[in-house]
Amino acid sequence: MRKGFASSSRLVVLAAGLFAALVGISARLVDLHWLRSAELTAFVDKARKQIIVDQARRGDILDIRGNRLATSRSLIELGADPQVLRKEDEAKWPELAQLLGIPQSELEIALRRRFALESVDSTDAPTDERMSRPIRWVRLSEAVEESTYERILKLNIKGVYGNRHYRRVYPGGQLAAHILGYINKEGTPVTGVERHLDFYLRGQAGWRESERDGLRRELAQFRTREIPAADGFDVVLTLDTFVQHIVEEELETIATKFRPDSATIIVSDPRTGAILGIANYPTFDLNHYNRAPIAVQRNLAVTDMFEPGSTFKIVASSGALNDRLVTTSTVFDCSLSSIVYEGRARSLPGDAHAYGVLSVAEIVGKSSNRGAAQLGMRLGSQRLYEYARAFGFGEETGFPFGGEIPGMLHPVRAWDGLTITRLPMGHAVGATAMQMHYAMSTIANGGVLMRPLIVFEIRDHSARTIAQCQPMQVRRVISKETATTMARLLVNAASAEGTGEAAVITGYEVAGKTGTTQKIINGHYSERQHVGSFVGFFPARRPQVAITVIVDNGRLPTGGTAYGGTVAAPSFKRIGEQLIPYLGILPAQANKSAIAMGDAKRDRISHP
């Protein structure tokens, strides 16, 4: 019988070897998994496990036509580790300096400094007592574009690298600066839409739990939990870039011609309350917000109040007409200097010109202070106050951001003896430009006060609507008939017979009212400083656009008074003329048949 390979001795040796190996492995396993388990697990966790945060991209802010007003893009903060720079790469430094747009000498100083002096106890210690600390990072540029960064990487300079981060950019610069707001360097939204709608814009960062190898590269196969980042939503505003640009260009014209302290223009659709353009002078560039003083960053249209002056006369006249206390042909003696009201003689304010008997239509058209005061007295203190409140004075309009103030409208019990004669002409009341604009828009909108609409909708990145803001009626202030009558009276005011002749647009019925008030300086009305304004809308019969222009302390080249008809009404006209072709506003004579507009129509279109 042949003896098998496995002799007893061999088997014993083999078994002993296997047993020893098993014992060794077991001992090692016990050591690793039991005795030193906690220590090793902590070490592995620290060395290999990592949580990687995926930053969400902040949503864009768009205008009503989809133009980007604010967007996010990645930029690279470029730096270098002077400890690992190679001698042979120094030849590439000039090209690097050129790509970064900095002088070569500046770059060389930054790269050649390899150690920083560091005091043992204090920075006041003498130089020889200080220790030198190796510099591992020196910043070369705060924001390098992706394309430039790629070219820098191609230079293959060891030790030069960048860290990517998202940066908010505003392609329009100062366009709609007071509305958009900005994100500061810490990434905190400071003002405007950026702050108000931060919840929707910011998105939600994602994260994943993973492991890394010795070279700190992620080992993707060991990903355990993963929450994807959710990018922020886009916010669509009712603003129109083109209209906004017209408004800001007009403000620049005003600033150049009249050198005012400040100026504000608002353009809106009175039927919906949607704001198409809104801007203030002075303004600032959102990409360089840190260069602008805080005072310049305020949205003056909602944060500052002024005495509206004659534009406020729409309140008393609308109220008296709406309560059927007067008709447009009711007359008042505007030559009187005082009148008895509630048993007391009240002095009436003066007029720019001496008037005799004026009808209500003429009072509005010629902007008679005495006439307005008598309309107020006819209405009575309480009703005048109620109408002023109904038109939105003394309360916030509901403009959602920018620190809106409610203005100032005292209750009747706080009035003095003169208030009943001064309030109807727009004194003894503080209004914001936004309040004045929406009060006039009430007449344009058939007597219904609308809430300002600035946010149109919120979309996700696939342009799906998440939320949409609808026009919102605040209240009916006057009847539709009264509004129509007032619009007619305001057409007279903005005509050759009225004070707003400069606002007339040929071929269109413009309704509007000028306002000029003396500024209160040190508690007294100034003879030299005025706030000139024009608030109106057109076409008067089918209003499509309401425009408010307010110029604070305009300085005429001739040195005269900066009346609203002089400094503000021409701006209304210029803006209106540019909006007509853009918004397709039809002239007053338009009807349903084909409209012939000038010779061009006859020349170019002939029916077949």
């Binding site: 019988m1 991209r57 980007r68 992706e146 392609p171 993707a220 640009h245 084909a594 129509k601 279109i605």
Partner: protein, 130 residues
């Protein structure tokens, strides 16, 4: 003694079985390693794809912001001046307002053109019977 050979055969068989078992176990181990390698390869490829997508997203965002900056009214006006294009907003008297159904109007115009088009004389060879 007949018991000893049968015992060695048994031991031999057991040894062969053990070796086969080890080979089998080794194969499973190798297969596991290969599978894990494949998993890591796929995971790495996925990660690279994600990195690439993020890079493309960044590029798109950069291009979008450049386009937006290029389309801002101020920039367009400067380009208009720089390139001497002389573009200007239309004046009111240059605008023709069509207040009727555009489709019907265009169709009518087109039909009128069709019916009033003058006939162009044309000649072509005609075969005649011999």
């Amino acid at each position: 003694m007949k018991k000893a050979p049968s015992q060695s055969v048994l031991w031999n068989r057991l040894l062969i079985a053990t070796v086969l078992l080890l080979v089998f176990a080794g194969s499973i181990g190798l297969a596991t390693v290969w599978l894990r390698h494949q998993v890591s390869e796929v995971a790495a490829a996925n990660r690279n794809a994600q990195v690439r997508i993020a890079e493309l997203d960044r590029r798109i965002a950069e291009v979008n912001s450049q386009v937006a900056a290029g389309l801002s009214p101020d920039v367009l006006l400067r380009q208009n001046t720089r390139l001497r294009l002389g573009l200007a907003a239309p004046r009111d008297n240059q605008i023709i307002r069509v207040d009727e159904e555009v489709e019907i109007r265009l169709a009518a115009k087109r039909n009128a053109e069709l019916y009033t088009t003058s006939v162009v004389p044309a000649s072509f060879p005609v075969s005649t019977p011999r």
